[in-house]
């Protein structure tokens, strides 16, 4: 939309602007939304968007057809994803060759392009509308709703949908105390992992004396397999900014800092743009909406350190120092950014705030559990059919998420475990699938909510290998200050590697458990304290598999290299020679058109042969 930016000097200005935007919007006008999130961009959605643009312009349809490059639409598995409005028609795996046809047949002609529709794997039915897809149908999309409709580069899109009205309300209809008590009443809890009540955190900070206070947004989403925060920042950056402004009103801060991790360059661009646009309209900066409240936001870029997700480390890193956690107390609410009282919340937490203020706590709490209100976004990834970003009410079961929304396990394999909470979380087995997902239940089961990564594993995943992977990760990501964390993780890894190599003994399992408990107890920050979770939870639920490694010297999932063997089935081998050609260790021998053999001494168990064999003649055991 093209509107000349004009500074908004009163809440009424915002209302007038919104009304004029709404009046100008024609819901019947066909619109195309192309997912421009990094995920879809991997498979070429940006090229797709530009060919849409080019064709629309070339054919002079610019006034008749709207085009938006949006943030993550959620269903990454099917990317690149294109939505056509009206009708919310969902096209999957769209290629540049499909563009012309979509415009001709769907946008202009109003018919469906059958082959681009999603097909329900169970019923075999083709489902045209988003809301019919099981993946979307079973979600409660409140925060992510914006990602569908909003061009993240356009503040007017956000305002047209009621954006920044929560700021106006907080400034003109509420006292700062009201703002805080509303957030408390909503039972909003920190979405970064620990689940500390957000309102309480704000209240403590408000009560702390000090003339300068800060609002810091933690966008250092370091958990591998989690991209909720990135999707919000890239898809709906203004909702995060609005949440930060409201936090500023609540605690009496006039400066905000967003700390973004180095691996998210696109997010930085989107927020920078959002800040500029909001400042132009007077929604950031001096005297917001004509009030006496001023608030600005700066961006601080991370430089690649997982430990900086820990709040005290993050604050130091945002100041440009070494991101090494420090002992709490004092808590950031008392002594935080630059030594001043600071509220630090996660991206998703801030994105929830405008909803609470706009609709009221009671409305907000209609979703969620008694102790924690609202929805939570998860990244459902791994060996699950429907990979993507899902938003669900707190209190839903793991089964509903993985099977209801996720569509079950890939390739008809068996579910084995789900890992929640990133490297510091735990692996939960099949018998825990009916666990209700909230902060307390997950931690009782030995895992954590974390920021919302949910990695599904099937029978081909070895839990010892998973424990090893996470320890390896934490070993290099620990800051290394606490001896218990640095050396403890190192030694846990040493033991687990021994087990994976077939050199472990049953006593090792006890030692591992004892050590894990000590590391959990003795380390200072969240990273160290939770670093034992992958080990403890796998030991708790999959001890049999560990025992198979140490007693039988077998890896049931056939993953641990020292314990597996690759073989060629001579009945199936046609002697085509492709495995021999591809084997990097030159371990495969055989004459053309005759069954080949693998030399176990030279085989490095990389699995390339198995992957290239077209006849399924290579097996591992």
């Amino acid at each position: 939309m093209t509107v000349t930016p004009k500074r908004l000097r009163a809440p009424e200005d915002l209302t007038v602007l919104r009304q004029s935007l709404v009046d100008r919007t024609d819901d019947r006008k066909p619109r195309i939304a192309v997912c421009g999130d990094t995920g879809c961009a991997v498979c070429g959605s940006l090229g797709l968007a530009s060919s849409f643009k080019e064709i629309i312009e070339r054919r002079g349809l610019k006034d008749r057809v709207g085009l938006k490059v949006t943030g993550c639409l959620g269903f990454c598995e099917q990317g690149p994803v294109v939505l056509v409005f009206p009708g919310e028609i969902f096209y999957r795996k769209v290629g540049p060759g499909d563009v012309e046809e979509i415009i001709d047949r769907t946008v202009l002609g109003g018919e469906l392009v059958e082959r681009l529709l999603y097909r329900d794997p169970i019923t075999g039915q083709k489902l045209p509308r988003c809301s019919d897809l099981p993946f979307y149908k079973n979600q409660t999309r409140v925060l992510l709703e914006g990602n569908w409709r909003i061009d993240p580069n356009d503040i007017y899109d956000y305002i047209a949908r009621g954006g920044y009205s929560a700021v106006a309300k907080a400034l003109y209809e509420m006292t700062p105390e009201d703002v805080i008590s509303e957030v408390k009443e909503a039972r909003l809890r920190g979405r970064g992992g620990a689940g500390f009540p957000t309102g309480l955190k704000w209240e403590i900070c408000r009560k702390t004396k000090g003339d300068t206070k800060y609002v810091v947004c933690n966008a250092d989403e370091g958990d591998p397999g989690a991209f909720m925060d990135r999707s919000l920042l890239e898809g709906n950056p203004h909702s995060v900014l609005e949440g930060m402004i409201i936090a500023g009103i609540g605690i009496g801060a006039r400066h905000g800092v967003i700390y973004v991790r180095a691996e998210y360059p696109t997010a930085v661009v989107k927020i920078r743009n959002a800040i500029e646009q909001a400042s132009e309209l007077g929604l950031l900066g001096e005297n917001i909406l004509g009030s006496d409240f001023s608030f600005d936001v700066t961006i601080s870029k991370g430089a690649g350190a997982f430990v900086c997700g820990e709040e005290t480390a993050l604050l130091l890193s945002a100041e440009g120092k070494v991101g090494e956690p420090r002992q709490k107390p004092p808590f950031p609410a008392e002594k935080g950014y630059k030594g001043k009282p600071t509220v630090i919340n996660n991206v998703e937490t801030f994105a929830n705030v405008p909803l609470i203020i706009k609709n009221g706590a009671a409305e907000y709490r209609r979703v969620g559990t008694e102790k924690s209100g609202g929805t939570k976004i998860f990244c459902l990834v791994g060996k699950v059919n429907n990979t993507g970003l899902v938003e669900v009410p707190l209190g839903i079961t793991l089964r509903e998420i993985i099977f209801g929304i996720g569509g079950g396990i890939k390739n008809g394999k068996r579910f084995k475990a789900v890992q929640t909470g990133g490297p510091s979380g735990g692996c939960l087995p099949e018998q825990m699938l009916d666990l209700k997902v909230d902060f307390e239940e997950l931690s009782r089961a030995g895992s954590i909510m974390g920021s919302g990564g949910m990695i599904v594993m099937d029978e081909d995943t070895c839990v010892v290998d998973i424990a090893r992977y996470f320890l390896q990760f934490l070993k290099s990501e620990s800051c290394g200050k606490c001896f218990s964390c640095r050396e403890g993780i190192n030694r846990m890894l040493e033991i687990v590697e021994g087990i994976a190599a077939g050199e472990g003994s049953p006593e090792d399992l006890d030692l591992l458990e004892e050590l894990a408990c000590a590391v959990k107890d003795a380390s200072m920050c969240g990273l160290g304290q939770t670093s034992a979770n992958p080990v403890l939870s796998t030991l708790r639920y999959f001890r049999d598999e560990y025992l198979a490694h140490v007693e039988l010297k077998k890896c049931p999932a056939a993953v641990c290299r020292a314990l597996i063997r690759f073989q060629i089935d001579e009945n199936l081998c046609t002697g085509c020679g492709i495995c021999r050609k591809e084997c990097p260790a030159e371990a495969i021998e055989g004459e053309r058109r005759k069954p080949h053999t693998i030399d176990p001494n030279r085989c490095m168990k990389c699995g390339v042969c198995m992957e290239v064999c077209k006849f399924g003649a290579i097996t591992k055991s």
Partner: protein
């Protein structure tokens, strides 16, 4: 003054003290490796762990960095503390067996076995030298670099530092390299040689009750060779 419960005793201490200082004041011995009165508390060695809070909702914190507070409940030698501390000492022994300081700690805390693969690290990254250099010597010649297992104390770019005045403060304060113990080898991380030098009970109080129960030295040296001979055959 603030009132707190220290090992079940109601005590009053000055505000601004750390738990470690308070415990010391009341004669309670808490082991430390990275602590030194003249330097900023650092909290890295984790040996000075104490348990704070109500039972059931308690947690372990390092007493050297934790401030005293009104109504704080502290237990310095609870089962949980002792168990964790012993495991940490065992880890230290496995990692840096040639430090006399660590060997002594092991003896004092009855750590009689090492279940981890012994390694011979020269540094335990307690940071005493770094703080000594910066705070007492105003040197800023050495510091930490990298992170995780790669963390180390070094000079900029690992080369001879222009800031270093060769004062030796870092070497003086190092618990890992000063009074390096010659006894232990990698394959046998507990040597007891240090212990034997400082244990009077074996030679002079043969029949008296040892203050260490069970005494590591007595257990392992049941032959009880006279001290003079032991010196020749460490």
């Amino acid at each position: 003054m603030v009132n707190m419960l220290l090992n079940g005793l109601q005590v009053s201490v000055d505000e601004g003290m750390t738990v470690l200082e308070a415990a010391k004041f009341f004669g309670i011995n808490i082991p430390t490796l990275c602590y030194n009165e003249g330097l900023t508390p650092y909290g890295a060695c984790r040996l000075c762990l104490v348990e704070i809070g109500e039972p059931g909702r308690s947690k372990l914190v390092t007493s050297c960095t934790y401030p005293v507070g009104e109504g704080l409940i502290v237990r310095t030698h609870s089962e949980r503390v002792v168990k964790t501390r012993k495991l940490l000492i065992e880890l230290y022994l496995a990692t840096c067996p040639s430090s006399k300081v660590i060997q002594d700690l092991a003896s004092e805390h009855h750590v009689t076995r090492v279940r981890f693969r012994p390694r011979d690290e020269k540094c335990i990254l307690c940071g005493l030298c770094v703080r000594m250099c910066a705070e007492q010597m105003q040197g800023k010649a050495i510091g930490f670099a990298r992170r995780g297992v790669d963390r180390k104390v070094t000079t900029p770019f690992d080369r001879k530092s222009e800031e270093c005045r060769l004062c030796g403060g870092c070497m003086y304060i190092c618990p890992a390299c000063q009074a390096r113990c010659q006894g232990p080898r990698e394959e046998k991380p507990i040597c007891n040689a240090c212990l034997n030098l400082s244990q009077p009970c074996l030679d002079y109080f043969d029949d008296a009750m040892c203050f260490m129960d069970p005494c590591v030295a007595c257990e392992l040296n049941s032959g009880r060779t006279p001290k003079s001979e032991r010196r020749n055959n460490p």
